[in-house]
Structure formats: C-alpha cells, structure tokens
C-alpha cells in the first residue's frame, strides 16, 4: 500500500496498441507510485516493452487507454507533450545529435534551465564524460553515447526517466558504472523505469517489477517476489535469476 501522498508518478490505464491485425499491447494497466524510485519492466522479445515506452514517451499513439503523469493526462502521440509533462527517455540504440558536440547535445535539451552550461557541466561530470565535452557525439563509443544520452535526458529534470535497455551492448565494467550512476541519481530523487534483459541488473536495482508477455501484464510486485513467480520463470526467465535474486530469496 502506497504511503506516498499524491498521485502516482506514472499511471497507465488499459493501454492497447494494435498494428493492423497484430496486438502489441493488450489492456495493460500499471502504476508507478511515489514510494519507490526504480521500477523494472521485463519480458521476452516482442512482449511489448518498447511499445509501451514508445506510447509513454509520445513516439506512437496507442489505440486505446490513458496515460497519466503525476495525475495529469498525457496527450498521446506527441513526444514534446510527454517531455513537458516530465517524461524523459533513452533509447535501445542511443540517439544523440551526432553532428553536434557532447556539450551541445546537452545544451539542446536545456530550454528553461536557468544556468544551462553549468547544469550540463555538472551532469557530464556525474557520468564522467567531461573530458569528451568537445567531441562530436557521432564519434563516441556505444557506452559513451549511452552516458551522454542519460545526461541529456536529465537536463530536463524529468519526473521519471524511461531507460530502454541501457545495459545492452556495453562492457560489464560500463554496466557497473551505469548502475553506480543510477544509484547516485536515485539518492538525489531521480526516478527510473527500466526495460532490461539483464535480470541480474534488474534484481540489483529495481524495487518493483512488471512483467509483460505477448502484450499482457502477467505479473507485478516487489522485484524479488516477481523473479520467483513460477509464471514469470516459465514465460521469461526459463530458469531462476542469478546470485542477486538467490541471495534475496535465501534471506527472505
């Protein structure tokens, strides 16, 4: 039961997305309450995770349903409307403004910020990319691009950041760095909604977990409990989660 006063950070009601004869999301409802700060969304490939993120971030318009951010209805199909309501988002493959410098990428997202350059420099320092501030974004490695993309989305001070497979395709050492940044940002009050295939990472970071399978929400709850759910294990994990979840289970 939520003890947080106020509406959920993000509330999705009966979200449905159909492309022709294909149903990508079927009547999905979930709520990110203010009690927690890092939520996870997992599921097999094609389960609708990125489609859900695309709806919330305004990239696509759902067929039905409603999305509310801090209790305010989101005008769907408009990325700018989503940004103005407090949705920030990174992408599976990082999408930077490739022909601009790292610093200019952040400054492009700084409208409304009182001290944009200072804020940009602080965020670059947080993700340890200060040395690359003048580099062209298109010349960075995948891991570096993900860090810059994270810093850029934080320029807007979003209510919740949607992270779409931020650990995908990067070195394990970089994954550790990213986890460290997320914990630091969490302590500063930033909220994250993660889509991840790295179950170990999900188990380490997330407080509450949602599981999609074939466009439907099949499980939700405290992360460690969900990871032990037989239906989840069957549909997605195929096996119990790794040491992080096992340690939590042993302690339970």
């Amino acid at each position: 039961m939520s003890t947080h006063a106020g509406p959920p950070v993000l509330e999705i009601r009966h979200l449905t997305v159909s492309f022709g004869g294909l149903t990508a999301l079927a009547d999905v409802s979930l709520s990110l309450d203010g009690d927690q700060a890092i939520w996870g969304l997992v599921g097999p490939n094609g389960s609708g995770k990125t489609t859900l993120f695309n709806c919330v971030s305004g990239m696509i318009r759902p067929t039905g349903g409603q999305i509310l951010v801090n209790g305010r209805p989101l005008r769907t199909g408009s990325p700018r409307a989503a940004s103005r309501l407090g949705i920030g988002r990174t992408f599976q493959s990082p999408r930077l403004f490739e022909r601009m410098s790292v610093l200019d990428n952040l400054l492009a997202a700084s409208r409304g910020e009182r001290r944009p350059t200072q804020r940009a420099e602080e965020l670059l320092e947080l993700v340890e990319m200060t040395a690359h501030r003048r580099a062209l974004a298109g010349q960075l490695s995948i891991g570096q691009k993900k860090l810059v993309e994270l810093a850029r989305v934080l320029m807007r001070r979003p209510a919740v950041v949607l992270l779409d497979e931020i650990a995908a395709g990067v070195h394990p050492r970089m994954v550790e760095r990213i986890e460290g940044y997320l914990r630091t940002l969490r302590a500063q009050g930033v909220r994250f909604f993660l889509v991840e295939h790295d179950v170990e990472m999900v188990a380490r970071l997330c407080e509450r977990l949602f599981v999609l399978d074939r466009g439907r929400l099949i499980a939700e709850g405290p992360c460690q409990e969900v990871l032990r759910d037989p239906q989840v294990v069957s549909a997605y994990l195929g096996r119990p989660a790794g040491p992080a979840a096992e340690g939590a289970r042993d302690a339970a």
Partner: protein, 314 residues
C-alpha cells in the same frame, strides 16, 4: 549517413574545427561579418566598370540566395526545392505593388511580406511531411507556382511578365541584396551562439528525439522558413528591380531550384561562411567560362557535390 573515419588525412582536415561548442567561434564570425560589411559598402565605389559591377551584383545575389536557403533548409535539414518560389513571390509582389501605385519602399516591403507568407506555406508543409516527402512537395510547389505565374495574368502579367514601371539605380538593388545577405548571415551566427541554434540543429539530426527533449520543432521551423521567406522575398524584390522585369523565365529557371542546395552542400550546411564562399566561387567560375564553355560550370558543380558528399557526412 557516412561517418568520418579517423586516420584519413583529408577527411580529418575537413572535420577540423568541428566538434567543440557552437558558440566558441562567435566572436570571430562577428568580426568577419563586420569586415564583410565594410567590404560590401566600399565595393561599388571602387574604380570598376559596369561589367565588373554586374558580376559583383551576381556574386552578391547568389550568395544571398544561397545563404537564405542555408538559414532554413541548411539548419533544419528540410531540403527545399521551392526557394525560387520565395524569390518569385517577393519579386512579383513588389512589381505588382508598384503597378498599383505603391511607393518604392512600400512595394519592397510588400515583396518581403509576401515572401514571408510564402515561407509560412513551406513551414506548414514541414509540419506533417518529413524530409524526403517534404522535398518532393516543395518540388511540386515550385513547379505549380511557375504555372500560376504564367496563367495568373491580372497579377503576374502571365507569360509576358511584369515590367518595372520605375527606373531604379544599381545601388538600390545592390544594397538591398547586401542587407539581406548580412542580416541572414548575422541570424545564422546568432543562432549558432544560442541555445535555440542547438535546438534547430537537433531538428536536423533527429527531429523525434528533439521533440522528446522538449524542443518546439514546429515553431522553430515556422520561424526559420518564415524568416528565410521574408529575406528571400526582399532579394526577389531587389532582383526584379535590377533586371527591370519579373518573368517566369528569370524567376523560375531550373538552376535556381538546385543551386542553393548544391552550393550549401559544397560549402557546408548550417556553416556560416562555407555556402557564401561556394556561391561566390560558383558565380565567378560561371562568368569565367561563360563564353568558352557556357554549361561546363554545372558539371564542375555536380562533381564538387559528389566529392564533398564522399569526403564528409552531409
């Protein structure tokens, strides 16, 4: 999009000066702009004959025409083929105003105003039509407008065109075009030094992501295409006064459709000086080859576009 590969010397040379932050070169740009302004003010008063003044005017005309295209299409990445439409809108409006009894200043202002509205038409087109579709639509617009110019006799004079009813001096057209060029260049310099310039270039690189970080892409496109339309309309008004007439043949020739795109690509889209230098070089080359090889300049320009496209990302 071709990415620059480290280790190729020529490509590294072309990439030199890129990266960094956009606003770092603003003071140098402003100083250069000041020097260019002085040079443009002085040039007509140098001891040159009328032929050289005509060449000077055409260098200025093509530079200004290209730079206004750079302001809208070069900055946003929405490549428009309808730039002659903006030129013609301003030219026809100015002469129409003069024929209806407007004073010279009012007629020129009318040309700029109609050009601004015409730019708004292109901005509206860009709201729903993205890059490739937008380009095709602008091609349709310019072709359709040429037909309108030929048929709408009460306003445009039809296939006969409109004759400028008043004699105006060379200096008027020269300085009006120079003003358009300087204002457009200053706008590009100031855009690149401000947050708004980064927002515009973000549209060029990835419009959906630009919107997702809060950038008002529709408003920015409207502003830039409107401004470019107004300035190109001013150039059009000036140009028809220089030519003495407005006629579909001199406002809708094929090379004006592709020239600003080609010259901006060669000079560097969204750069401050590259498109101007490309336009100036092209005009002088055209003039030098006019007698001996009147069409080879197009082959040279085409080869330059291909070469630049191979060497750097566009």
């Amino acid at each position: 999009m071709t990415t620059i590969v480290a280790g190729r010397p020529l490509q590294r040379l072309l990439a030199a000066g890129r990266g960094g932050t956009l606003s770092e070169r603003t003071p140098a740009h402003l100083v250069t702009l000041g020097l260019v302004t002085v040079a443009l003010l002085v040039a007509p008063h140098l001891n040159v004959n009328s032929y050289h003044l005509t060449v000077l005017y055409y260098v200025l005309f093509y530079a200004a025409f290209t730079q206004t295209w750079n302001l809208s299409s070069g900055m946003t990445g929405y490549l428009s083929f309808a730039h002659p439409f903006l030129l013609a809108a301003g030219g026809y409006a100015a002469l129409f105003g003069l024929h209806r009894g407007l004073g010279l200043s009012a007629a020129i202002a009318l040309g700029a105003g109609i050009g601004l509205l015409a730019g708004g038409v292109l901005a509206l087109t860009s709201v729903r039509a993205r890059h490739l579709v937008f380009g095709f639509l602008t091609l349709f617009i310019v072709m359709a407008m040429e037909i309108v110019a030929e048929l709408w006799t009460p306003v445009t004079g039809g296939v006969s065109g409109l004759i400028a009813p008043k004699f105006t001096s060379f200096e008027l057209s020269y300085y009006l075009t120079a003003v358009a060029l300087l204002v457009t260049t200053l706008a590009i310099v100031l855009l690149r030094s401000r947050i708004v310039g980064r927002e515009v270039l973000a549209i060029r690189d990835d419009e959906d992501v630009a919107a997702s970080v809060g950038i008002n892409t529709s408003m920015l496109k409207a502003l830039l295409f409107g401004a470019a339309g107004g300035l190109t309309g001013l150039i059009g008004a000036s140009h028809v006064l220089f030519l003495g007439s407005a006629h579909p043949n001199n406002l809708f020739p094929l090379h004006l459709i592709v020239l600003p795109l080609a010259l901006t690509l060669v000079g560097g889209a969204s750069r401050v000086w590259g498109p101007l230098l490309a336009a100036g070089g092209y005009t002088l080359l055209t003039e030098m080859l006019r007698v001996s090889a009147p069409t080879i300049h197009l082959i040279i320009l085409g080869a330059a576009v291909v070469l630049v496209a191979r060497l750097r990302s566009i």
